[in-house]
């Protein structure tokens, strides 16, 4: 499972981790029914507390993306809502645009030009 975190993201860490897992599932490397890697491995790789990852997993379970099963760990229940995935992509696009000196209105203008 490929997880990316933005070091400049001001949101709470568990939200960012949930976002990263949602994106990984949405990109299709894990289909419904597939088991996710253990939370402690994810936490160790990201260098965050295991409770942060568990909180993110619980949030995704409440969203209906994941399913917790006793003895079988955490597995994918449904592909996440496409809207939340697009939102996340837009958020990172806006963050990148700001780095290059574009304002949000400039980005909206660019999107209009392209579509």
């Amino acid at each position: 499972m490929l997880l990316t975190l933005d070091l400049n993201d001001p949101r709470p860490l568990h939200e960012q981790v949930a976002e990263a897992i949602r994106r990984a599932v949405a990109e299709g490397s894990y289909a419904p029914g597939d088991r996710l890697p253990p939370a402690r491995d994810v936490a160790a790789a990201l260098g965050v507390n295991a409770n942060t990852v568990l909180r993110a997993l619980r949030d995704l379970r409440d969203e209906g993306v994941l399913e917790f099963r006793r003895g079988r760990g955490v597995s994918v229940l449904n592909r996440p809502d496409p809207r939340s995935v697009i939102e996340e992509k837009l958020r990172s696009l806006l963050a990148e645009a700001v780095q290059y000196g574009y304002r949000h209105d400039d980005v909206i203008e660019l999107i209009r030009e392209l579509s």
């Binding site: 490929l2 997880l3 975190l5 933005d6 490397s29 890697p37 491995d41 790789a45």
Partner: protein, 332 residues
């Protein structure tokens, strides 16, 4: 003498030495051994199976010859195997390990039968159980060592395009995956539990004859549980491969050692079966068939791990390796 000639000379010499030991020992001790001899011991430690001495001799020598010819066959067929260090070390380990295994097996069998009036009166095996295993491990290590010197030609590269991912500035990416062989874990857990229970019961009971087999059971169970699951992480520090619920033993491979990575569909039949195989520098961790992460080392060796979502892992590893070689400033 060419590489193949030297190899044949050494292999034939070792084969002759082990065969001579296997033949000479029973012939020398013939008058002091019962016929038939005890060849199998029950869990209680008492012998429960026998075989004529001549048949045992033929069986030992026959099996040893079969394994020796089987081990040398790939080298005789394709000399390329011998030009690779891993190939030579593998054949050396097989010949050395199996040779000393048979010598140890025969030694502990003869030792237990020595001066017994009949096979039912043969001594308990006791710690003789571990002699063949010790022979296997020691012979394997020595054989691998013997195959080490000489040229090392890297195996031909798989022609797979290198994929990467795009990382923005200030973005940190990691890849985590694990794979578990459910059957192996369940069987290992059962062996471990029963082995420990037997150990405790024998220690309480005071009769120590069952201690070696129950300890062996527990250790085998522990090994099965440990190597029944593999956990792989790719971070800015490199690749980490950890085994089992304790995540130990673990192996860390720094990015500087990695040249590139790719994913490949491999099955146990293609890599020589399930399990951990190969030698440092060219090893395979195969606990299920299918998608595998293959890491090519700068030194020419490679590491193959059967793991889910290997394509993303390979892409991230390639990206990190490119970033690390471009300069530490880019590496996040």
């Amino acid at each position: 003498m060419g590489l193949r000639g030297r190899f044949l000379f050494a292999a034939a010499g070792w084969f002759a030495l082990v065969t001579a030991a296997l033949v000479a020992a029973p012939l020398t001790l013939w008058s002091r051994l019962p016929d038939p001899v005890a060849v199998h011991w029950g869990l209680s430690g008492a012998p429960d199976g026998s075989m004529p001495l001549a048949a045992l001799l033929l069986l030992d020598v026959g099996l040893w010859a079969l394994v020796a010819v089987g081990a040398c066959a790939p080298a005789l067929g394709r000399a390329a195997v011998l030009r690779r260090r891993a190939g030579r070390m593998g054949i050396g380990a097989l010949l050395g390990g199996v040779g000393l295994f048979f010598v140890g097996l025969q030694a502990s069998t003869l030792w237990a039968n020595l001066d017994a009036p009949g096979w039912r009166q043969a001594a308990h095996l006791g710690w003789g159980v571990v002699v063949p295993l010790a022979g296997l491990l020691a012979g394997g290590a020595l054989g691998a060592l013997a195959g080490r010197p000489g040229p090392d030609e890297p195996p031909p590269r798989a022609d797979v395009p290198v994929r990467g991912i795009r990382l923005r500035h200030g973005q940190r990416a990691v890849w985590v995956s694990s794979v578990r062989n459910g059957w192996l874990t369940v069987i290992g857990g059962a062996l471990l539990a029963s082995g420990i229970a037997l150990c405790v019961l024998t220690l309480i009971g005071g009769d120590r004859t069952l201690l070696p087999p129950s300890a062996v059971t527990a250790v085998a169970g522990l090994a099965a549980v440990t190597f029944g699951s593999v956990h792989v992480q790719i971070t800015g520090d490199g690749l980490l491969v950890a085994y089992g619920p304790l995540r130990h033993p673990r192996r860390r491979i720094p990015l500087a050692k990695v040249e590139r990575a790719w994913s490949e569909e491999l099955f146990p039949a293609q890599v020589g079966g399930w399990g951990l195989r190969g030698l440092p520098g060219a090893s395979t961790i195969m606990i299920r068939g299918g998608e595998c992460l293959v890491v090519g080392y700068v030194s020419g060796g490679r590491l193959t791990v059967s793991i889910d979502d290997a394509a993303s892992g390979a892409a991230l590893l390639n990206t990190l390796v490119a970033g690390a070689s471009a300069g530490p400033a880019l590496r996040r």
